[in-house]
């Protein structure tokens, strides 16, 4: 009589299965199906730039009434799609990209010493400000590259550069850089002073071939008065700049760069 145990065990399994399926339909937890839709629309990078711990949590927050334009990764497209799903209006934020305010690769600066430690900008910069002669410039160990979830940063010859087509504007690299030379810039603004040094012109000129020496030529040249000298280097006010390119022609050290997006 081998059938009796088989019948008992399978019968019990059947009964439990029926009870469970009844209970699960009876006590079903209704999840707002918009959460699922919003979650699908979000990029899924889980970068945390919106201020929530991940795309899942932000999707939940959106459905519970949070702003829909907090995700810098998705950009204006995402906001339009989210406003379709949620039926609310939101002004699309300006697309921001990260830009490294330094152009001092190894051929332009002097190398003070051979750094042989951990490959990390923070670690390298604790040693006499890093191997580069300019202590304000890029350390070139690629800490920003490591935190970039979008593979938008390349580090070549001791200089990090950002592919602005790939950059989503999450700002992780800005927070990571120990020299604080990565800045968030509206992507429409094409010209930037690729230098952050705070030394006097003579010193910075000696440290780096493409340093801003605060000669003020661009300040005088700019028709929109968008350029000013802050901390011994020129800074372009992106809200005033109209991308005319007058400044780049007069810069004696080629410290002003035109950024066209792709590296």
């Amino acid at each position: 009589m081998v059938l009796i145990p088989v019948a008992i065990v399978s019968g019990m399994g059947l009964i439990f299965g029926l009870i469970l399926s009844y209970v699960s339909t009876k006590f079903e937890v209704k999840v707002d199906d918009r959460i699922e839709k919003v979650r699908e629309a979000l990029p899924g990078a889980n970068c945390g730039a919106c201020g929530f711990t991940g795309c899942d949590n932000y999707a939940e927050a959106i459905v519970n009434g949070s702003e829909i334009n907090l995700c810098p990764v998705g950009g204006p497209d995402l906001v339009t799609r989210l406003s379709d799903i949620m039926g609310v209006e939101a002004k699309t934020g300006e697309k921001m990209v990260a830009r490294v305010m330094c152009n001092g690769s190894w051929d332009k600066v002097t190398i003070k010493f051979d750094y042989d430690g951990i490959i990390d900008c923070r670690s390298a910069s604790t040693m006499a400000g890093g191997p580069s002669s300019c202590v304000y410039g890029c350390v070139g160990m690629g800490s920003c590259k490591k935190v970039c979830a979008f593979d938008a940063i390349i580090v070549e010859d001791g200089l990090a550069r950002i592919d602005e087509k790939k950059c989503s504007g999450c700002g992780k690299c800005v927070a990571e850089c120990p020299k604080m030379i990565i800045k968030m810039i509206p992507s429409k603004s094409e010209y930037s002073v690729a230098c952050s040094n705070q030394e006097k012109g003579a010193v910075s000129r000696k440290n780096c071939k493409v340093a801003c020496i605060a000669c003020k030529k661009c300040v005088k040249e700019c028709p929109k008065e968008a350029i000013s000298i802050i901390d011994m280097h020129a800074v372009i006010d992106t809200s005033k700049c109209d991308n005319c390119g007058a400044c780049i022609k007069v810069c004696p050290t080629s410290a002003i760069m035109k950024y066209t997006g792709h590296i």
């Binding site: 009796i4 145990p5 008992i8 065990v9 019990m12 399994g13 439990f16 009870i19 469970l20 209970v23 699960s24 006590f27 079903e28 937890v29």
Partner: protein, 193 residues
């Protein structure tokens, strides 16, 4: 009546599942970080063990014994417990979502918790009556909760203390667990049980 009281006291203190029989150590170490989750886990365990002792006792008495299928005890009990845990999970998700999230992975883990299966098997082995079985199941779960609660208190205090580097984390937790367990040896031989 005296028998029931003795069973209850024995199950809570003398034969404490965690600290004397060393059953259900996984949630004991896993959920005891915070008192609030320990209470939640304890509640879930009490519920599951009490119901499972009724169901497994009936299954054992009316199905397994008459057909001489005692050898199927383990697999049948696991089936019952798994279904019960699933039921508890569905109900918790509906009515206490906060507790559901707090318990997290440990709720499904009750399925394979040896304390639950252990209590079912012990009840069958000792041939308790239904009332005794329920009392035993309930009080051993209460004993489990007590151990979990006491230990979470200990762990919360350890958290704020300056533990030597090498002992931080799991090592000091295991040492503390051993000491709490030693304390429960003091109940050994209580009332001649």
């Amino acid at each position: 009546m005296k028998e029931i009281i003795l069973i209850a006291i024995a199950a809570v203190f003398v034969e404490n599942f965690v600290l004397s029989k060393f059953l259900g150590i996984c949630p004991f170490l896993g959920v005891s970080k915070k008192t609030s989750t320990a209470v939640g886990m304890g509640g879930a365990i009490v519920f599951v063990i009490t119901i499972s002792s009724v169901v497994t006792w009936s299954v054992n008495e009316y199905l397994l014994k008459p057909y001489e299928l005692i050898y199927l005890q383990t697999i049948v009990f696991i089936l019952v417990i798994a279904a019960l845990v699933q039921l508890v999970e569905t109900v918790l998700k509906k009515f206490m979502p906060a507790l559901y999230r707090a318990l997290g992975i440990y709720l499904p883990l009750i399925t394979t918790n040896c304390a639950v299966l252990g209590s079912a098997l012990l009840i069958a082995e000792r041939e308790y009556t239904l009332l005794n079985a329920v009392v035993f199941g309930f009080s051993s779960a209460v004993g489990f909760t007590l151990a979990l609660l006491l230990f979470s208190g200990v762990r919360e205090r350890i958290e704020t203390n300056d533990v030597p580097m090498a002992f931080r984390g799991l090592p000091i937790t295991l040492i503390a667990a051993a000491l709490v367990s030693v304390a429960f040896i003091g109940f050994q031989g209580l009332f001649g049980i």
